[in-house]
Structures are given as structure tokens and as C-alpha cells.
């Protein structure tokens, strides 16, 4: 049971950290990116969930919406940044 709880926590922590981390680490040190991403991930998740839950009427649904939007946005922005960097490198 404890292992299950720890696994759930690690998954949750990954979900709120990684989408921001992959973008931040392009600009700042990796270890600094991990900590900053985790802290901001907690704030982004709780802010979005709290206010969006007034719209959805459910905290659980609001949190799931956040995770989907956050992960998709994180990877999307990362793809866009990398493509822009590739393009500008090939132009040079």
C-alpha cells in the first residue's frame, strides 16, 4: 500500500514538473529547472484546479482538465521552441 502511494506521488510529481522542466532546462541549469518546475507546477495545478472547479463543479474534473492542458501545452511549447531553434540554426 505504501509503495502504491509512493508510486502515485511520483507520477503526480512527474506530471506537474516535467512539462515545465523540458522548457526551462533549455534556458537555465537542469537542477535549478527541476526544483523551480516542481514548485511552479504545484502552484499552477492548485490555482487552475481551484478556479476551474467553480466552472466544472468538481475538483477532480478540474484537476484532470489541468493535467491534460498542462502536459499538452508543455510538450507543444517544447516542440515549437526546438523547431524554431533548428530553423534559425539551419538559416545561419
Amino acid at each position: 500500500m505504501i509503495l502504491l502511494d509512493i508510486s502515485a506521488f511520483i507520477m503526480g510529481a512527474w506530471a506537474i514538473t516535467y512539462p515545465l522542466y523540458i522548457n526551462l532546462e533549455l534556458y537555465i541549469e537542469k537542477d535549478l529547472s527541476v526544483i523551480v518546475s516542481f514548485i511552479l507546477g504545484v502552484v499552477f495545478m492548485s490555482s487552475f484546479t481551484y478556479y476551474f472547479a467553480f466552472v466544472t463543479g468538481s475538483i477532480k474534473i478540474a484537476m484532470l482538465c489541468f493535467l491534460v492542458i498542462y502536459i499538452v501545452t508543455g510538450f507543444g511549447v517544447n516542440y515549437a521552441i526546438k523547431r524554431t531553434k533548428r530553423n534559425s540554426a539551419s538559416v545561419q
Binding site: 506521488f9 495545478m45 492548485s46 490555482s47 478556479y51 467553480f54 463543479g57 468538481s58 475538483i59
Partner: protein
């Protein structure tokens, strides 16, 4: 140094496992009054699956509602705080999340020292955090918001240091984002951050004869900071102003200039506001005075070298001194004042790490300098484990056991009440041995209002006593403690209650009557 991240993670996991002993060995939540109120508000969101805007009626049991500061009884803390607690409570890893958040200083101190000095200094500093009694008590007692907020101070001053080095906007952006986060967790941390940044900026101006930042950056950053706060906690900002106004009391003869205060550290005027006296003793909190040696060496080193990195550390020390000595100029920060000392070990730990690592630099270069350096670090590590870490294990093994915590019978009854008693019922608690059981019982049933007095077996003064709809009688602890004298008294009470009420729950020495 590739071994640094591995060592860092290994020490952290060890520390985290230590901190989680009380919750892994017994899943019943624990903590002081602050812990139960935060759990209560998070639980209110979990049980209703709705965000809390107006606080549930029962919040008054913690004497939180001051009509003049919070006329609409809205959520007091920024909603991000209790929402994050609720989200991890839903996932059943409430204490894992709390332990991770409260031990964030492990990483922020490492990052600060690694970036200012080197990874070894960072490791020495980080290594001390999980075994720091002050950090442990802040977590165990339930001052979670304060712990989160103060843990961000090293990160904020590091981001400012990196920004002033190259004036990269990314560091300024992150600095604002983390400071907003700090404010959302607890505004007290921002007070320290801003004071340190101000002192460091003044030093840089004097040293370099130019501003360490661009004025346009500060103006835009300030506007973003204010707008972000308005957007993220619109209902709480006015309360903060009201509360600060009510907390700051009129200066009395206790406040004002005195030589003993000028050179004093723990002699806070106005009392400790409920925090135990040992919390304000170096000897008790750091397990003796031995850490005072590397601390003083660290301060002397910083004063001798005076590099920009050293000035940043000295600014933190000066900032904390100024904030905790505002009474010298007649300012009393009220009941929150002693809480500033939660930050003290986060201030001392980096300086101790610097003292331990650079102590050999007092001697001029010699052949085996590095061997001596690492030998001293090893001796320090062993001494720290023996003197500070071993008692930590004893603390976590013994904390909140017995009557200090709810028992399984009370928890099971609370769960039954939560599911079977209508919301807005008033439950008169009888036989609950301490305030802790009563408040935690309340935290488990956020839709109902528990009626009880502080540390009394039955309420006589609670303002809701006439509204009682149910009686919850707890014999469980009394049987465990063999308090037959009290059991007889409560049985007599119960026989009176039974004449006019209906028994609806009777299990494991716990009974519930409906009026």
C-alpha cells in the same frame, strides 16, 4: 562532480523516509491545531469535491473567524495552499506531499550553495536539513505553509544573485514567479526575502557604484508581481491587510531600544505566542553548542573574504537580524513574530556548511590541504550523524503516539458520522481526552460542527452547546488508560442522554446518540 547528484538524492530519500515514519507506521493524521485546521479545510474540499470559498461553519472551533478581518468568512489562506493539500489528500499521499514540500529547503539550500560556492558545500548544507530539529518540528506540528514559504528564501536570493550577475530576464521572471508562490504559501517568507534582497542591493550599489538591476526590469517585475497576486488570490489580499493591522499592537514598554535586545538573539519581547520555550534555545534546538563553532567560523570567513557570494550570505544574516529586531524601533509584529525563527536554521545551515568546508583556508596553502579539508568534512559528518541525526530517529519513532493522536476507534466513528449523520449537525463530544482528538475528529467531519471545550471531557462553554443535535461519546481512550473514575461519570451522563436520545452507533467503545 558526478557523484554529487547521487549522494544528494540518497541523503534526501533517507531524510524523507525518516520524516514519514509517523505516517507510515500509523496512517491516522496527526499534528497540532494548525495541522488539523489545514487538514479540515482540505478534507472539506475532498468530501464535497467542490472548492471552498466560504469557510465551513466548524472553522470557528479553531477560533479563526475574526469578523473585523474577514467579514464574509472567506477562505483565509490563498486557495492554492488548501487546494494542493486537497489534491494530494484525494490521492492518499497527503503526508508524502507535505514532507516533500516542507523539506524543499534541502534542495533550495543545495542549489544556493552549489551555485555560490561548489557542490560539496551544497551537499554539506543539504545533508543537515532533514536532521534539523527546527525543520522537523515545523513539519510535525503542522506549520506547513510557513515551512514552504521559508524554504523558498534560498531559491529567491539565488535567483536574484544570478540575475544581478548577468541581468538575464529569465532569472528575473523566475524570481517573480517564485516570490508570488512564496506569498501564496505564507506572506511572512516574503518579508525576509525582500529584506535580504534590499540589503544585498544596497551592498552591491556601494561596492560597484551602480545599480545591480535595470529600473525598467524592477518596475515591470513589480507590476507583474502585484497583478499575479490579484489574479491568484483576489479574496485573500484584503484580509492580509486587515490582519496585519490587527496583529500589530501598540508598542508598550516591552518594545523599544535596549542594549540586551541589541546584542540578544532569542530574548523576544511579548512572549513566544504558544511556541514552546525550548524552540528559542540554541542548546535545545541544535543538540548542544557544538554547531556554534562552525557557525562562527563561517561568519568570520564571510567577513574576511567579502566576495559577492559572501555578501549575499551576510545580507541574509543581516536581514534576519533586522526583521527579528524590529522591536528595537518600537515595531511589534504581533503573534507571528516568534514564527520568524522557523527560518533561523535555514539561515545557519548554509553558513555552517561554509565554515566546515573553508575552515582550512585560514591556514596558508600546504601540501595535503585537500585531504585535511575532506577529513574535516568526514569528521563533521560523523559527529553530525551521532549528535543530531540519531536523536531525529528517536523523535520520529516516538512522536504523536498514544493520547497525542486520534485512535482507530475514533477514526472509524468519524468516518461513520461523516457518511451517516446529516450535514450541519452539531455533535457534542464527550470523553475525548485532549483538544487534539477533538480537533482531529472535527477535521474528519468537515460538514458537521463538533462542540467541545479546550482539553475538557465535555463542553460547558462552547458557543454552540445549545444547538447540539448529536452526542458522540468516546470511552476508547479512557478504557485504554484505565480511568474508571471518569468512565463512571460519563456512563451516568450517558444514561441521562439515553432517556431523550436514540443510540445510532455503538462500536469499539464509541457511541453516537441522535437527539
Amino acid at each position: 562532480m558526478k557523484i554529487a547528484p547521487i549522494l544528494l538524492v540518497a541523503v534526501y530519500l533517507l531524510g524523507l523516509a525518516l520524516w514519514l515514519i509517523p505516517s507510515f507506521s500509523n496512517p491516522i493524521p496527526y499534528g497540532e491545531g494548525d495541522a488539523s485546521i489545514h487538514y479540515f479545510l482540505a478534507n472539506a474540499m475532498v468530501q464535497t469535491d467542490k472548492p471552498v470559498l466560504v469557510q465551513p461553519k466548524a472553522v470557528s472551533q479553531w477560533e479563526m473567524d475574526a469578523p473585523e478581518t474577514n467579514p464574509h468568512n472567506l477562505l483565509i489562506n490563498a486557495p492554492q495552499y488548501h487546494t494542493s493539500l486537497a489534491l494530494f489528500l484525494m490521492q492518499n499521499n497527503f503526508y508524502i506531499f507535505l514532507a516533500v514540500m516542507c523539506s524543499l529547503s534541502f534542495f533550495t539550500i543545495y542549489l544556493l550553495l552549489k551555485n555560490l560556492y561548489n557542490p560539496v558545500v551544497g551537499l554539506i548544507g543539504a545533508f543537515m536539513v532533514p536532521f534539523s530539529l527546527r525543520e522537523q518540528l515545523t513539519f510535525i506540528w503542522g506549520q506547513w505553509a510557513t515551512a514552504w514559504s521559508f524554504a523558498l528564501v534560498p531559491l529567491i536570493i539565488l535567483l536574484y544573485f544570478l540575475y544581478t550577475k548577468e541581468q538575464k530576464k529569465i532569472y528575473l521572471g523566475l524570481l517573480i514567479a517564485i516570490t508570488v508562490t512564496q506569498f501564496l504559501f505564507h506572506p511572512l517568507g516574503v518579508l525576509i526575502s525582500f529584506t535580504v534582497l534590499l540589503i544585498y542591493s544596497i551592498i552591491l550599489v556601494c561596492k560597484d557604484k551602480k545599480l545591480p538591476f535595470k529600473i525598467s526590469h524592477v518596475i515591470v517585475g513589480g507590476v507583474i508581481f502585484v497583478l499575479a497576486l490579484i489574479a491568484l488570490e483576489p479574496f485573500q489580499l484584503s484580509q492580509i491587510g486587515n490582519r496585519l493591522g490587527s496583529d500589530v499592537t501598540t508598542p508598550t514598554e516591552q518594545f523599544g531600544f535596549s542594549i540586551s535586545r541589541l546584542f540578544g538573539w532569542y530574548n523576544i519581547p511579548g512572549g513566544t505566542h504558544g511556541i514552546p520555550q525550548f524552540y528559542f534555545s540554541f542548546n535545545d534546538i541544535y543538540y548542544g553548542y557544538w554547531l556554534l563553532v562552525p557557525l562562527i567560523i563561517g561568519i568570520l570567513l564571510l567577513l574576511f573574504r567579502r566576495s559577492k557570494e559572501d555578501w549575499l550570505m551576510l545580507s541574509t544574516l543581516a536581514g534576519f537580524y533586522i526583521i527579528t529586531h524590529l522591536d528595537l524601533i518600537g515595531i511589534d509584529l504581533g503573534p507571528k513574530y516568534p514564527r520568524l525563527f522557523y527560518f533561523e536554521s535555514l539561515l545557519f545551515i548554509p553558513i555552517i556548511a561554509i565554515g566546515v568546508y573553508y575552515i582550512v583556508d585560514f591556514i596558508k596553502d600546504f601540501k595535503f590541504k585537500n585531504y585535511v579539508r575532506y577529513g574535516l568534512i568526514a569528521v563533521f559528518g560523523i559527529a553530525f550523524i551521532y549528535i543530531n541525526a540519531v536523536p531525529s530517529l528517536n523523535l520520529f519513532n516516538s512522536v504523536y503516539t498514544g493520547v497525542e493522536r486520534m485512535n482507530v476507534e475514533e477514526l472509524t466513528t468519524a468516518q461513520w458520522v461523516s457518511n451517516n449523520v446529516p450535514d450541519d449537525s452539531y455533535l457534542l463530544l464527550i470523553g475525548f481526552p485532549t483538544f487534539k482528538q477533538a480537533t482531529w475528529f472535527q477535521a474528519m467531519v468537515p460538514g458537521k460542527v463538533a462542540v467541545f471545550d479546550f482539553n475538557k471531557l465535555m463542553a460547558t462553554e462552547d458557543k454552540n452547546i445549545n444547538k447540539t443535535t448529536h452526542f458522540v461519546i468516546d470511552y476508547s481512550f479512557l478504557y485504554q488508560l484505565n480511568r474508571n473514575d471518569i468512565i463512571e461519570q460519563i456512563q451516568q451522563l450517558e444514561s441521562n442522554i439515553a432517556t431523550n436520545s436514540k443510540l445510532i452507533y455503538d462500536d469499539n467503545n464509541m457511541k453516537v446518540y441522535a437527539k
